[in-house]
């Protein structure tokens, strides 16, 4: 099933991160396997975004370690989409080909791959538009398509729908589901429980910098094992 040179599963051992003497994450040990999306949930300030950045290698852990499987270099096998998409001051197409150029793809292949990715996110018709004139929803779709064009084995998404309206959220979720179905491992954060229920294969519950639960989504949402998770689910539901 799995490619022999896969970088998954990803495991962390007692991962910790502090910033300016302020502890943000403690003792996070987890295993991320290939399969349906892993959704990291928890209240604001729980450390969700920091955890994603640590896993992606944008931050260096102050304790513990991160281990990728296999012998392949994990760096080029992952991609990340940020809460606020960072788009270059170029056309939609040039935004999509840019990381492909960094990855060393030949010019012709860059173009073909980028156009296929734009097709996937429904932006093919806007390929020549300046990227930063797109609507917020289109910008987030472009960021997703740009990441998808890299064909990562694992894709980190930090609150991908945080500033989107329901229609744009639906479009982004459809793309995420499609990427996941095509075999890309999705690891995303969200504070939107309804979205977590729709997308999650497994749920990781972060609370005050600690990973309190990691369990299959159905089980987590029906029977949270910790009082904190139960309170979070109940609070969010009441609200």
């Amino acid at each position: 099933m799995r490619a022999p040179d896969t970088i998954l599963p990803l495991t962390t051992e007692a991962l910790g991160f502090a910033h300016g003497g302020q502890p943000i994450l403690h003792d996070v040990s987890l295993t991320i396997e290939a399969g349906p999306p892993s959704v990291i949930i928890g209240p604001n300030g729980a450390g969700k975004s920091v955890l994603l950045r640590l896993l992606h290698g944008l931050l260096a852990p102050s304790a513990g370690r991160i281990h990728w499987s296999g012998i392949a270099d994990p760096r080029p096998r992952q991609a990340m989409v940020f809460q606020r998409p960072v788009l270059l001051r170029r056309s939609v197409l040039a935004n999509t080909t840019y990381p492909l150029g960094l990855a060393g793809l030949a010019r012709g292949e860059r173009d073909a791959r980028a156009r296929a990715a734009l097709e996937l996110v429904g932006l093919a018709a806007l390929a020549d538009r300046p990227a930063r004139t797109l609507s917020v929803g289109e910008q987030q779709r472009l960021a997703l398509g740009r990441a998808a064009a890299l064909r990562p084995e694992i894709l980190f998404l930090d609150e991908p729908c945080a500033s989107l309206d329901p229609a744009a959220t639906q479009a982004v979720e459809a793309i995420i589901a499609q990427l996941s179905a095509a075999g890309t491992k999705i690891v995303m954060t969200t504070h939107d429980l309804a979205q977590a229920r729709r997308l999650a294969g497994e749920a990781l519950f972060l609370h005050r910098g600690r990973l309190l639960e990691q369990s299959p989504a159905a089980q987590f949402f029906a029977h949270p094992a910790t009082p904190e998770a139960a309170a979070f689910l109940a609070g969010a539901l009441v609200w």
Binding site: H56, V86, R89, P99, L102, P130
Partner: protein
């Protein structure tokens, strides 16, 4: 009052008639200042981009120095370049003093810090925005420099125009290192200074009008570019 209007009429006549001496002065001005902008850009743009992305000891001091040099008085710049290029100076053997080459060098020295400092300001804000995403793509600060220069292309063109405006309007540096030699190193600003002191107002006014037209053109171009930059920056 009559003198003034007569001077304006004579100036218009000089320009309309395509007086070869006037055209020569205008041509040399443009050649010197444009060459200076090109040379200063080759140094100032990469230096500004480097300062925007690199973190090293002494970076803060370098930025303060560059910002201070933006206000370098042209006569002081001219004096320094004069000392370098004079017969007994370290670069005296080049024989550049009192040639257009020396004027280009002096203006390039004058505006390179301006280009570097403004480039740094523009690109540092871009870098703050891009850094994390570019690192996610596997691009470090070195690889980011050409990316930032390209993404800042419209803003940087206005920076170049600012440099050109400063170079074409200054008189002190080219006067000192060029010597205002008729037909050889006389440019618009030095000619205006000389002709005014001689009382030849029509020529001074004619050149002044051309200089103003250039400044206006530069600003109009900068305005247009700002529009384009906004369009691409969203």
């Amino acid at each position: 009052m009559n003198d003034l209007s007569a001077a304006f009429a004579a100036a218009a006549g000089l320009l309309a008639g395509g007086d070869p001496a006037v055209l020569g002065i205008i041509g040399l001005s443009l050649r010197v200042s444009l060459s200076a902008v090109v040379i200063a850009a080759l140094v100032g743009l990469p230096l500004g981009a480097l300062l925007a992305v690199a973190r090293f000891p002494g970076r803060g001091a370098l930025i303060v120095t560059l910002n201070a040099l933006m206000g370098l008085p042209p006569v002081v710049c001219g004096l320094l370049v004069y000392l370098l290029l004079s017969r007994s100076g370290p670069l005296g053997s080049l024989g550049l003093l009192f040639t257009p080459g020396a004027m280009i060098a002096a203006q390039a020295v004058l505006i390179a810090p301006i280009l570097a400092a403004l480039t740094r300001q523009v690109l540092e804000s871009y870098w703050e925005e891009y850094a994390e995403q570019l690192r996610s793509f596997g691009a470090g600060p070195w690889r980011a420099i050409p990316t930032l220069l390209w993404d800042g292309r419209f803003a940087l063109l206005t920076v170049l125009l600012a440099g050109f405006g400063r170079a074409s309007a200054e008189v002190g540096a080219v006067m000192i290192v060029g010597g205002n030699i008729e037909g050889f190193t006389r440019v618009m600003t030095t000619a205006i200074a000389l002709e005014t002191s001689k009382g030849d107002l029509p020529l001074a006014l004619a050149l002044g009008m051309v200089l103003m037209a250039i400044v206006l053109g530069v600003n109009a171009a900068a305005q247009t570019l700002r529009g384009a930059a906004t369009r691409w920056a969203g």
